[in-house]
């Protein structure tokens, strides 16, 4: 007796065979392996992958060909994995120029979300620095995001950035801090100015921002970039001496880096974490944190408790 094949079953079989064929294909760097989790920038609703790429230390390689090649390889893998947000600063030595050279080598991917900072006092020097940064990135369009680095001369720089945004020379405006500095002033600026982004330090151990800044960002509709999600590597150095806890598999984590990143990006206020690396293998581990389930509030509490107890 033949069983009539339903259209649903036929469709399922077609989809399954197509999926199998896709899985057996050699993986191309031109296509992301999996769609990354995204979160919208509240002010413009633009979705951004929850894992980006920082450039502090790792991309400051000067004209070292080996370092430049490593940076280019990391950025190639980043875009191949579906990454978009790259963050730098004039404070990071040669990082901007290294990014610029890599972008040129990679054909200037259109998916790039270019985030940089202004880190100088004075209006004229601020404008000159932004122009220099733009030149070093070799961008052929405006920056997506400019931030006042560590609030340096924000009284001068922030109005300048808002004016650039109004003139269509910039899409988003932000401010940054790191390692818990100047949080009170940071909070005041978040309350008083129509910021698109804030950037701050947040990780499994440094959680002070959960008290005021992250709730305020949610309340005010401000996107949050998170720097130092690994405490400049020290957190991972400490964690890697311990086996992964059982709950790591529940959220699809095979490395501590993924645990640390999933903890950060699962906070409802956080838009994107920007870990830095000079190694493709580490980059690929990091990008895996933007795939699969994120921990819920209960698991987040347990993650923080377990890591603090290690």
């Amino acid at each position: 007796m033949s069983v009539p094949r339903s259209p649903h079953r036929r469709q399922w079989l077609q989809a399954a065979s197509a999926g199998l064929a896709l899985a057996l294909q050699p993986r191309s760097w031109a296509q992301p392996a999996s769609a990354l989790l995204t979160k919208p920038v509240p002010s413009t609703r633009e979705p951004l992958p929850v894992v980006g790429l920082g450039s502090w230390i790792t991309f400051n390689v000067g004209d070292d060909p080996q370092g430049q090649a490593a940076a280019t390889a990391v950025m190639r893998a980043f875009f191949a994995a579906g990454g978009r947000v790259i963050d730098s600063s004039p404070m990071y030595g040669s990082s901007q120029a290294v990014i610029g050279r890599a972008l040129a080598a990679l054909g200037r991917p259109t998916s790039l979300y270019a985030a940089d900072k202004v880190w100088v006092s004075g209006a004229e020097r601020g404008s000159a620095q932004i122009a220099t940064s733009h030149q070093r990135w070799q961008l052929q369009r405006p920056f997506d995001l400019l931030q006042v680095h560590n609030l340096l001369d924000w009284e001068t720089q922030l109005p300048r950035l808002f004016a650039m945004k109004a003139a269509g020379q910039l899409r988003h405006v932000g401010i940054t801090t790191s390692e818990g500095r100047r949080h009170r002033e940071f909070e005041t600026l978040m309350q008083r100015h129509p910021l698109d982004f804030v950037q701050l330090s947040y990780n499994l151990l440094d959680r002070e921002v959960e008290q005021r800044l992250l709730p305020l960002a949610q309340e005010r509709g401000i996107a949050v970039l998170v720097n130092r999600p690994f405490r400049q590597g020290a957190l991972l150095d400490a964690l890697q001496r311990h086996p992964l806890p059982g709950w790591a598999a529940d959220i699809g984590c095979r490395h501590w880096a993924q645990v640390a990143l999933k903890f950060v990006v699962s906070h409802p206020a956080v838009t994107c974490a920007i870990p830095a690396t000079s190694q493709v293998a580490h980059l690929q581990q990091n990008m895996q944190a933007a795939i699969g389930p994120l921990p819920d509030a209960r698991l987040r509490r347990r993650m923080a408790q377990d890591v603090a107890a290690l």
Binding site: I57, N60, G62, D64, G67, M91, G93, E179, R181
Partner: protein, 263 residues
């Protein structure tokens, strides 16, 4: 810098260890064949101070050239590529070059140390270490020999070698002939005062080499490089020897109050 007390040494680190180490290989290639000249010149300075002390002015001028070259070629042209403070370091090295050139001129008040002998010996040993061994510590730790940081070309060896040179020399001031005679005799009969301005003039050339050694040791520490301990130990040895030699000298002359500074 706001809330400066919240900053740690790590916060000032701008580059990865590999980047810093490979920079020396790139630098040696950039200034080639200067490394071929620097090593014999360093040996010549060492030989002159050990065997032909009358040539100390030439040795001092050669070391001044090393500081000037390091200021321009290393700090200004190479290190500035990865360190925002490198132009300031270049200025610091240029200033030290001028100071050493000033010391090397006739009637500068500087001479080869008359005593104690152990201070001179330690000075020569430090200079020998800076010329012959310090540049190769990276190689001894398993890194390529092309990354050698040579005396006269790279800052750490140049600074340590200069501390050795300063232990070999002493400032006796220009005008007080009696004071100079007392220094030479090592056993003064009178109770002449050690002039404070001679002590200050003696200490000045130490300031920048010691400051650089501390800055560089801090950098190496943040890079988790064991060379940090070597640099700190050499600097400590030089400063301690200088202070001890000064105490001996000041005691021999009759002292100048409670101050004890490197000679």
């Amino acid at each position: 810098m706001s809330e400066w007390w919240t900053y740690r040494l790590d916060d000032f680190l701008m580059f990865a260890p590999g980047t810093y180490q490979r920079m020396f290989a790139l630098y040696n290639a950039q200034v080639w064949p200067a490394p071929l000249v620097a090593l014999p010149l360093g040996l010549a300075v060492l030989w002159a101070l050990a065997r032909w002390p009358q040539a100390w002015r030439l040795a001092c001028a050669t070391v001044a050239l090393g500081w000037a070259f390091t200021a321009w070629a290393f700090h200004w042209q190479r290190y500035a590529g990865i360190h925002t403070a490198a132009p300031w370091f270049a200025g610091m090295f240029a200033l030290q070059a001028l100071m050493l050139a000033w010391m090397a001129r006739p009637a500068s008040g500087w001479h080869v140390r008359s005593g104690p002998g152990w201070a001179r010996a330690i000075g020569l040993a430090l200079l020998a270490f800076a010329v012959l061994l310090l540049p190769w510590t990276g190689w001894a730790l398993g890194r390529p020999w092309q990354q050698a940081a040579l005396f006269g070309l790279a800052p750490d060896a140049t600074a340590v070698g200069t501390l050795g040179l300063l232990l070999v020399l002493q400032n006796v001031g220009r005008e007080p002939t009696a004071h100079r005679q007392q220094v030479s005799s090592r056993r003064p009969s009178g109770a002449a005062q050690f002039p404070a301005r001679v002590a200050v003039a003696s200490a000045l050339p130490w300031v920048l080499p010691v400051a650089w050694c501390l800055v560089s040791a801090a950098t190496l520490w943040t890079l988790r490089a064991p060379e940090a301990f070597v640099l700190l130990a050499l600097t400590g040895l030089a400063v301690a020897t200088g202070l001890a030699a000064h105490a001996v000298r000041a005691g021999a002359i009759g002292g100048h109050g409670k101050r004890a500074e490197p000679t």
